[in-house]
Each structure stands twice: as structure tokens, then as C-alpha cells.
Amino acid sequence: MMSQIDPILLSVYARTFKSITDEMSMSVEQTARSPILCEAKDFVTGLYDAKGHMLEQKENLPILAFSLAPVCKYLVEYFGDDIHEGDVIFHNDVFSMGNQNNDVAVYKPIFFKGELVAWSAVKGHQADIGGNVAGGYNPRATEVWQEALRIPPVKVFDRGVIRKDVWDLIFANIRLEIVQHDMRAQIGACTVGERRLLDLLNKYGLESFESHKLALFDATRKMMEAEIATIPEGSYSGEGYVYFDGHNEGTKFTIRVTVTVKDKHICFDYSDTDAQTNGFVNGTYTSSASASILTFLQMVNPDIPHNEGMVGPIEMIIPEGTILNASYPKATTFGNHLCPPNADAIIRALAPVIPDRVTAGWNNLLASLTTGLDEDKGEDYVDIGFMGLKGGSGAMNGTDGYDHIGMIDASGGILDQDYEMFEQQTPHLLKKHEYLADSAGAGQWRGGLGVETEFIIGSEDTQLVTFGDGDFEPAFGLFGGGDGTLNIISLTYPDGSEVVPNNKDLIIGVPRGTIYYQAAGGGGGYGDPANRDRETLTREVRNGVISSKAAKDLYGFEGGES
């Protein structure tokens, strides 16, 4: 029998779930080694019920977030009765609902009085996952095995006992020692979640937990339905573009979405999207679904709880064989980074119907990774240039874009390295990291500013990997707003020669003393620039983020200093 719903206790459950996933997140942040986890926070923590329904998540990087519940459901099916107290399961397989090879999840089943009642899970981007290229980004890959070690559901702990042989098999195929420690940190955070959820169950009992969980899903579903109901019913289409598959220069692919709003439900249908590529520029079902959900969540009330009820009214149609859902055994590591063009398509589709709830286009990601030998220390280093890759967000009606926020799939969740730590951890010398003047798309509401980064490479024989986009097409403006600026990466060698890598590239033998330059573009503007507040413009010209020439040419503003 269902126990009665206590509407007040419902608030207590909701608040406590949130606090548990926050605590799990802090545990990972403080104990992980890889800067991707502890500095950039490229991980997600969550709680799920016995069947894998989402109870709550802490989505530091949302693009990983909406893979956890589908994988949890898959695990339940996969292991059936063979799930026991003390088990710990690893998973990254993109052909069973994983989103990206590098994003490895830990799941821990939670038992109460001998019964499976819930799961705690942490998914994080690992510094290495085997495959051909250190770090996992292999622009030449055409098949999954050239990218990564596949980890379908596998128990690394069985009833509390480590399966040493399995553990060693996995880590024998991964380059970096720290990955082991980081996976330990993820297991630790799952244990934190398990303990706290059991405290709650001990207090209120299983019946109360089960019935209130359903009531919570129901309340959240109604909240989401109410949000959707404010969008006029109908079908709306939009496109976003992907440039270069890593193999054939000049290639361009189109993501086509039809968004249908009907009867308090919303459907994202990608049936007309281009076919998968032969490179690693391919999405997985869950990376693409996460992209759609996180984009849509920015158009609704940000306070909506993140549980099964929230995703209930959202339907996804992402046919296998498209660039957003590649079929086995295609390479897919770039898939998370198809979020920006996917978001572009959704925004373009919905802008005419809900003009006050969409932003203009966001700066797309263009990232680089340098590896080499730090001779002073006699140690190898790996650095993802977080500070360089973060451009501006799109403006919306009433609010300027956010400066230097980074791509939409992180939305300000990924942080710059601290400059002095960057110089400790690499042999590079930072020359410049500043807002890029005139990068923001003009508008009554301007786009967020991009940044310029310049450093002197400090290692001989440096390897540089680039991955991303946004160097062909800038962030788009809306309703009279102007476009943002393009992404650029260029290398100036000590002999004066300049090398401009492709947006998905691998360059070896970069010499010491090379100047690395990167511009991350600004976001798109919104509305007619002529209507921008003149006082604000005066201040911006004074502060040098808009030049007086641009103020005059784009905004018709004469008050700027010359």
C-alpha cells in the first residue's frame, strides 16, 4: 500500500536529494588529480532509484548529465538479479548509452534491508582512456577502438571485494596513473551518496521514500508541463552547422531539428539531420539528447528540480546513422562538441515563437591541448587550454551576453586555470589573457565578450591537438543584433613562420619559443544596436571593450572618445 503523501515531507526529500548530490560533487572536486575534474569540474554526480529513474543530479558540466539515467536503466537490465550490496560498476561504452568514451561512470547500488532501492553515480571526463592518442582526442580516428578502451558494464567490486584482475586489465590499457586515483575519487563520492541516502531511508522508511519519490516526479513533471504550455503549439524547424570532419577539408554538415510543441509535451526530432561522418565528428544518442535538454533548460525556469519528472515531457527522435547518433563502430569522441551547433538549431527554431526566452548564438568551442617535457622539472605535462577556449554567450532580450563564459554545454561551469598555477604546471609563459575588444556581437543587448590568449611555448618538440569549431561561422545575432567574432588558433614559430592548425588537428614538433595565439570569439547580439543604452556605451568605450570606431560604425554612437 502506498503511504500517504505529506506535502511538507516532499520538500524535505527534494532538498535533501539536492544536498546529497552537492556533497558528492564536492568530494570529487577536492580529491581528484586531473585538472579536468578538480579545476574544470568536467563531471556530474547523481542519485537514481532502483530502476534508474533520476532523483537528482549535480550537473557541473551538463553535456555529461543526461547519459547517467539511461545507462543506469541499461545496467539494471544487463545485470538483472546479479546486483549485490557492495558492487561497484564502471561504464563508458558509447554503444550502450554512454555519451563519450572519456566520460567514465561509476555506479554503486544502494541496498536498504537487503533490497535494491537506489543508485549513486559519478561520471567524469578521464585524462586518458587508452586508444591511439593520449587524452582521447584522435582526429584521425574512424572506429571506436582507435579512440578508446570500451568499457561495457563491468563490476570492479563484487560484494565489497575488489576484482583485482578486472581492475588491472582496465588500467593496463590506460596511459596515466592518475586515472586510477580519479576513479577511486569517483567511487568515494558514490559511497558518500550511499551513506547519506541510507540516513534518509533509516529515518523515513522505504514506503515513504517510494511514494514521495513518485509524488516528487509528478510535481516536477507538472512544473515542466506548465513551462512547455507557455510555448505556442506547433512545429518549428532550425539548422546548425558543423565544419570539417577531421579528414576532408571543406566539409560541412547540417543538424536539422524540428521542435514540436503539443499538449504540454515537446519533441526534438532530428530525422532530417545529415548522415554520420567517417571521422570522429559524430554524436552519440545521449550526448545529443543532453545537448538538446540543456539548451531547452535555459529557456525555462532555472529553479526546476532535475529529476525524472523534468525529462518526462521531453521526447527525443535521433535516428541512428545520423551525425548525432552514429552507428557501431564509428568514432564519436567529438560528439559532446556537437552541442553548440545543435543548440544553434534549437535556438533558430524557437526564436520566432519565444523571442524573449532565447539567447542569440553562443561562441562555439575551439580548444587545444599541449603536451611535452617540462625540462626544469624533468616531467611530462599535459595542459588543456581552458582559459583560451572560453568565448562569450549570446545576448537575450533585456540581458547582455556573459563575457568569457565558454561554450553553451558548460555555461560557465568550466573555469580558467589560475595563471600562476598554469606556469607552475607547464613550462609556458603567459603573455596575455584579456577581453577581446569588439568581439561582442552588437545589439541593443550585446553578446558576451570573447578573449585573447597568448603564451610562449616552453618545451621543445611540443605536441598540439586542436578540437572544435567556430572558426568558419561566428555566433549569430538575433532580431537585428550583430554576429560575434570567429575563433582563431595560430602558432608563430621562432623562425617567424606561421602555422594555423585546422579546427581538428594534431601538430607535432612545435619548438620552444613558439608564440601560441588564440582568440575565442564573442557571442551574438540581440536587437537593434541603435537602441543600446548610451550611458552603457560611454562606459564600454571608456573601458576599451568597444572601440570608438565600432561604437560609431555599429551603434551610431558619437560620444566615444577617439
Binding site: 506535502p7 520538500s11 532538498r15 556533497e23 572536486e29 578538480c38 568515494g188 513551462e227 526546476i304
Partner: protein, 704 residues
């Protein structure tokens, strides 16, 4: 020892605790004067002098005062309201935007209306200058004094009052900063100047530049205020010692405060934890949780022997990397407003009705239901005895607000809705306590909870039930706990230096030399503050981490370990602390450990007032019984008559069994049906879980 006064200036009230040598301490409250808080301070002191028997004039009274300890929020308010000094920043060419970028964070990821916080220095007043140091401090490019001069010219033209200097890698070599500082002092002698490596000579650029700028931003404000205050005090006869509260729970002289104004930024609640410890010690406890619930906010802190320190925090989203007490603040207080979210769930706060218009029951125009209104409906507040009867509460207005905004929309009666508001508020506060305990690796059940603030003791039983905490202490002075804590504060100065080494390969003589020089520096500062050597204490901490980790763990180390180059002892302490915080260590895996920073806290022990002990008066509390009132009992979901006691009439040993209500002028204590209460020898109310007599027996046994 002479007369000491603790003065806590808050948003609404200025609290005074007067600690006499020969009688029980006295509590005073006057309204704060927000335009110039020193006026309120003098008003209050005048009132205190006047109320003496026989009454005294202010001059006579103040000349008898030995020490005044003062907590001020002028710097906090100036930051929050953006009324700091007009500021300029001189920094390394190419990195002037770090201050504004804040590493590119947007705290609310799904909220596209969430904008960045305005930087404290406008971009055109952030000037990059040529001159570069490598990561080891070696010069790559000489400092351009011409560039510095250009910045100074700009600052002068622009009327800049406060200058900050922060260069890349200056933690490893302060020469460039000092050269630039010399020029600024020469050309802008009147400007307030902060040099990053003087304030915070440790690695990490963004926290250092942010802290430096904060210090300059509020430095002139604090200076003006201190000048007024010391002027008014000495004009009125005070010639004793004035000490200023710091965010690290210690105190400092006005001379130190003038240079390091940022140390006061989060000092508002910082006296509370130290005061809590005093009351816990009466029960033989060195550890406690201290909570303080006022009108708009709830603060929770942990004390483990001493209040827990953290190495950095935030104010209005600006990072401040100075040691401060780990105090977690949430928007939950008597004024917190109840509302229903779009999913139909009941939420409380963080919006607050404040003092104006206040909760609906204040009858000052507030129409929205606040936590206080729920407490009134549930019978936990006496409508005729609020603030000692100085303010009437309108229960019908409270009921009407709850009915309209909570009960009717949720389809429940007013009482059930009020009970829900109370419960959700308590759950929010329990989460706040979790932040400072469970999240830092401590089990809250092992700590007594010291409860402070006007609204705290009405909610503490349910918070404790939620966290299974069996023991609470409600001090008689609970409503002015911070003023009490100020008199308990020692002089405390924190120092940090970056020192890179692998623990198994330390240059010990260099480290020993560094620690010695830091101790000398701290000792010299304390001596300037007239603290003799025998009352100086020094604590050394090493910030360590496993190689390739990014976050350090601060480990307390003994001086002998340093003196004897005892690597093993340091390592063992690090592994143990890492395990306690994060549930594991890598002790058995032979992972190298790196040392990053050396920290030193120099403590000058001050004389503390003794609280007088009461005479044992027996268990019978019937003399204090005022009557009965109907109150909501959660376990029965119904109202029942509950005895009401006059807290002022209860003496050492008096006992009441829950459910019971104990009323004082400034606070009310709700002893729920799961707890009993006994008065301890300092007059504090010791509230313990039913059946757990052993929690209070030792204190009572002494007396019996």
C-alpha cells in the same frame, strides 16, 4: 582585571556586553545608526553609564573601562552596497582582466539572466605595466617604472583614492611590487595602498589580486570609521585598549586594522563560535556546533578545540583569500517568507520580510507569511510578550497571510500549513549545519549545539532531531552571543608564504629559516600590540597535497617536527587529515606529497572575563512557572497545553521536561517533547534528549 565591554554593531541593533569584575555581566541593545555607526556606539555607552546605580556621566564611566572590543560591518556593507573607495590597479601587462573574469565562472549555469558581478576596479583603471618574473621569481623583463608613472598620472586625473599592486609570480619575488609601491607612495602620498605580497604572499594570481583589491577598496572606509570612533571615544574619556574583531575569530589593534582592512570583511558573525566554545566548556566539551538565527540569516560554524578556519571565502562573489572562520550562512531567519513554487512545493526564504515591513503579524504592512507568523500560529511565540512585550503581534494577520498564500493553495488548514513552514525552515537550517560538519568530515551527532540568536532556540530542537544531535546549550546571553565572543577573542595574525618542495626532499634549513622568520614577524607584531612573550603562541600549518592533486590540505604541525626535520611525522599528519576529510588516503601507495605553502598563526592571549557561577538552586522550577499555552506538538499533529516558564527566574539546577516553553525578553526556548532541559552553573539552558541524563549529570553532580 578591569571593566571590559564587547560591542557588536549589527544592521538593526548594536549589542553591548558589559563584563564587570564583581557581578554578573549586563546586556544592552540600542538601535544602530547606519549612517555613522560610531554615533550608536556612543549613544549606547551613554545609556549604559546612565543606567548605573548611581548613574554616571559618560566620561567617568569610559575612563574606568579597560578594554573595548568592537565588531563592525562597515567594510562588509561598503562592499555589498558598492560604496568603497575609488580604486585603481597596477598589474602585469596582459592580465588586467583577471579581476573581472573571476576565472570565467557563471554560478547559475541554466540562468541566462544571471549577470557577472561588477568589478571593484573599472577596466580603464586597471593598468598593465611591463615587467615580468618567471615562475621561480627570476626576472624575464625589467619593471617599467615609466609605465607605473603613467598609471599614477591616470589615477591622479581620475581622483583615485586607493591603489592596489599585484604582479604575476610576485609570491616568488616581491621586488617589482616594492619598486612600484615606492613610486606610488612618493607620487600619491595620500592614497591608500595595498601591495599583494605584503597582504598575501602566496601563489594563485586570481585570489591574490581579488584580495588585494578588496583591501584597497574598503581600506579608506575603515580608516575613516576608526578615526571617528577612536576620536569620539577619547573625547569622552576612554583611554583604555580598543580592539577590532577580525574574520578569523581573533582581534587586532586599530593600527593593524588600518593596513589590513580586508581582515574585517567577514567579521560580522566571527565572534560567535569562540563564545559558543566558552559555554560548551562548562560541560567539559572542547568541541561544539554554534548556530545563530536572526531575522534574515542563519549561521552555522564548527568548533573543534578552536573554531574551524578556512583559507579563503567569498564576499558578494569576490574571492577573499585570507584565513577566516568556516561559517556557513543561509537565508533563513524569522523574516523568511514562505511561498509555493511552480511544482507546488512549499519553500521558505531566502527572501525575507526584514524589519520593514516585517512579517504579517508585525502589523506594519507586511502581507506575506513569514517564519515568525508560523511560529505565532503554532503557539511558539507569545503575542503579548514579543521582545519582552514591547511589540504586540497580530495573530489574525498571521493566520490570514498563511491561509491566503500557503494553506488554501495547498489545500490544507492554516495550522498544518504553519507546521509545514516551520518544518521546512528547520530542514533548511539542518542542511546548513551539514555544510559545516558532514561536508568537512565531522559527524554532527558527536557535538553539542550551542544555540544563539533571537529566533534560534525556537527551532533548535527540530534541527537537532533532524540531525540526531542529542545535546544543545542555550546561553542566557544567546541573543547577543557575538558581543560575548568579542571579549573572548585573542589577538590573531595569520601569515602565509609559498614554499615548494617534495616532502621527502625538503631543504630543511631553508624551511626552518622561513618558519623562524615568520615567527619573528608575528612576535614583533604582537609585541607592538603590547603582548609580552609569555602570552605569545604560534601555530604552524603546512599546505600539502598528493603530487598532481590541485587542492591542498592544511596540516597542523608541531614546531619540534620542523626543528628536527621530522618528515615522517608531517607525512603521517597529512595522510590522517586527508583521510578524515575525504574518506581515503594514499599512505600505503608511496605517492609523493608536495608542500605548497607555509602558514603561521601568531596568537596573543588576552585576559578573558570570568563568568560568575550561580549557586545551585535545586531541580524544582515551579517558582518560574508562568502558566500554560496551547502549542502545536509535531508528533501528535495537534495542539496541546504546554507549560510556560519565565527563563529569567530559572536558576542553576532547575529542570523542566519537554514539551515546555521557556521565555526570556530577547528569546524563547522551545523544548520539544523529545527533549528535557536543566539550567547549568552559568545559567545556560542545557537541553538534552529524553533519557540521556548522562549528558548533564556531571555538571549537576558537582553541585549536588
Amino acid at each position: 582585571m578591569g571593566l571590559k565591554i564587547g560591542i557588536d554593531v549589527g544592521g538593526t541593533f548594536t549589542d553591548f556586553l558589559v563584563a564587570w569584575e564583581d557581578r554578573e555581566p549586563e546586556i544592552f541593545k540600542v538601535l544602530s545608526t547606519s549612517d555613522n555607526p560610531s554615533v550608536g556606539v556612543i549613544n549606547g555607552l551613554s545609556e549604559i553609564a546612565e543606567k548605573q546605580q548611581p548613574s554616571m556621566n559618560l566620561n567617568t564611566f569610559l575612563s574606568s573601562v579597560e578594554t573595548i572590543v568592537h565588531g563592525t560591518t562597515v567594510t562588509t556593507n561598503a562592499t555589498l552596497t558598492r560604496n568603497g573607495a575609488r580604486s585603481g590597479l597596477i598589474t602585469t601587462e596582459g592580465v588586467r582582466d583577471a579581476l573581472e573574469m573571476r576565472r570565467g565562472i557563471r554560478e547559475e549555469q541554466y540562468n541566462n539572466r544571471y549577470t557577472n558581478v561588477e568589478p571593484l576596479v573599472s577596466r580603464y583603471l586597471r593598468v598593465g605595466v611591463k615587467g615580468r618574473l618567471r615562475r621561480d621569481g627570476a626576472e624575464v623583463e625589467a619593471l617599467s617604472l615609466a609605465d607605473v608613472e603613467k598609471a599614477i598620472e591616470l589615477f591622479k586625473e581620475e581622483g583615485v583614492e586607493a591603489v592596489s599592486i599585484c604582479f604575476m609570480n610576485a609570491f616568488a619575488n616581491a621586488q617589482h611590487e616594492h619598486a612600484a609601491a615606492e613610486l606610488v607612495r612618493e607620487k600619491m602620498p595620500a592614497a591608500y595602498l595595498t601591495v599583494s605580497t605584503d597582504l598575501l604572499p602566496s601563489i594563485r594570481f586570481y585570489p591574490r589580486v581579488s584580495t588585494t583589491v578588496l583591501n584597497s577598496y574598503i581600506g579608506p572606509i575603515l580608516n575613516d570609521y576608526l578615526e571617528q570612533l577612536t576620536g569620539r571615544l577619547s573625547d569622552n574619556g576612554f583611554n583604555g585598549l580598543l580592539l577590532i574583531m577580525q574574520s578569523n575569530g581573533g582581534v587586532m589593534t586599530p593600527e593593524v586594522a588600518r593596513k589590513t582592512a580586508a581582515l574585517t570583511l567577514l567579521s560580522g558573525p566571527a565572534a560567535g563560535p569562540g563564545a559558543g566554545l566558552v559555554y560548551a566548556k562548562a560541560h567539559g566539551q572542547d568541541n561544539c556546533i554554534v548556530v545563530d538565527m536572526g531575522g534574515t540569516s542563519f549561521e552555522a560554524a564548527l568548533v573543534t578545540g578552536s573554531p574551524v578556519l578556512v583559507n579563503e571565502g567569498l564576499i558578494d562573489r569576490h574571492r577573499i583569500a585570507l584565513p577566516m572562520l568556516a561559517i556557513h550562512t543561509i537565508g533563513a531567519g524569522g523574516g523568511s517568507i514562505g511561498w509555493i513554487d511552480e511544482g507546488g512545493l512549499l519553500r521558505m526564504g531566502p527572501q525575507s520580510a526584514g524589519a520593514v515591513p516585517g512579517p504579517a503579524s508585525y502589523g506594519q504592512g507586511g502581507r506575506l507569511p513569514a517564519c515568525t507568523d508560523a511560529n505565532l500560529v503554532l503557539g511558539f511565540l507569545n503575542p503579548d510578550f514579543f521582545a519582552g512585550g514591547t511589540m504586540k503581534l497580530d495573530i489574525e494577520a498571521a493566520r490570514a497571510a498563511i491561509k491566503e498564500h500557503i494553506a488554501d493553495p495547498m489545500g490544507m488548514d492554516v495550522e498544518t500549513a504553519a507546521a509545514g513552514m516551520y518544518r521546512v525552515t528547520c530542514n533548511n537550517m539542518a542542511q546548513g549545519v551539514r555544510e559545516v560538519t558532514i561536508k568537512r568530515g565531522f559527524d554532527p551527532r558527536e557535538f553539542p549545539m550551542v544555540v544563539a540568536g533571537g529566533a534560534g532556540p525556537i527551532h533548535s530542537c527540530m534541527i537537532c532531531e533532524e540531525l540526531q544531535i542529542p545535546f544543545q546549550i542555550v546561553p542566557r546571553e544567546s541573543s547577543i552571543l557575538c558581543a560575548v565572543g568579542m571579549l573572548m577573542g585573542d589577538l590573531k595574525h595569520d601569515f602565509v608564504r609559498t614554499f615548494f618542495a617534495r616532502l621527502d626532499n625538503i631543504d630543511w634549513p631553508a624551511l626552518q629559516g622561513l618558519v623562524t622568520s615568520m615567527v619573528d614577524e608575528g612576535g614583533a607584531l604582537l609585541s607592538e600590540e603590547s603582548i609580552p612573550a609569555e602570552r605569545q603562541r604560534f601555530q604552524v600549518k603546512l599546505d600539502c597535497r598528493y603530487q598532481k592533486q590541485y587542492h591542498e590540505v592544511s596540516v597542523v604541525v608541531e614546531r619540534e617536527w620542523i626543528d628536527h626535520a621530522d618528515t615522517a611525522a608531517v607525512l603521517a599528519a597529512f595522510h590522517a587529515e586527508h583521510n578524515r576529510l575525504y574518506g581515503y588516503s594514499l599512505e600505503d601507495q608511496d605517492v609523493p606529497v608536495d608542500l605548497i605553502n607555509v602558514r603561521l598563526q601568531a596568537v596573543g592571549v588576552t585576559e578573558k572575563p570570568d563568568f560568575r557561577e550561580q549557586v545551585y538552586a535545586g531541580a524544582d522550577a515551579s517558582a518560574a512557572l508562568k502558566g500554560e499555552r496551547d502549542m502545536y506538538i509535531f508528533s501528535e499533529k495537534a495542539f496541546k497545553p504546554v507549560p510556560v516558564y519565565d527563563g529569567h527566574a530559572m536558576r542553576f539546577g532547575n529542570r523542566v521536561n519537554g514539551p515546555a516553553m521557556i521565555e526570556q525578553v530577547t528569546t524563547a526556548i522551545l523544548v520539544s517533547d523529545n527533549y528535557d532541559c536543566v539550567v547549568d552553573k552559568f545559567g545556560s539552558f542545557a537541553v538534552f534528549e529524553k533519557g540521556r541524563e548522562e549528558l548533564v549529570s556531571s555538571v549537576l553532580k558537582e553541585a549536588e
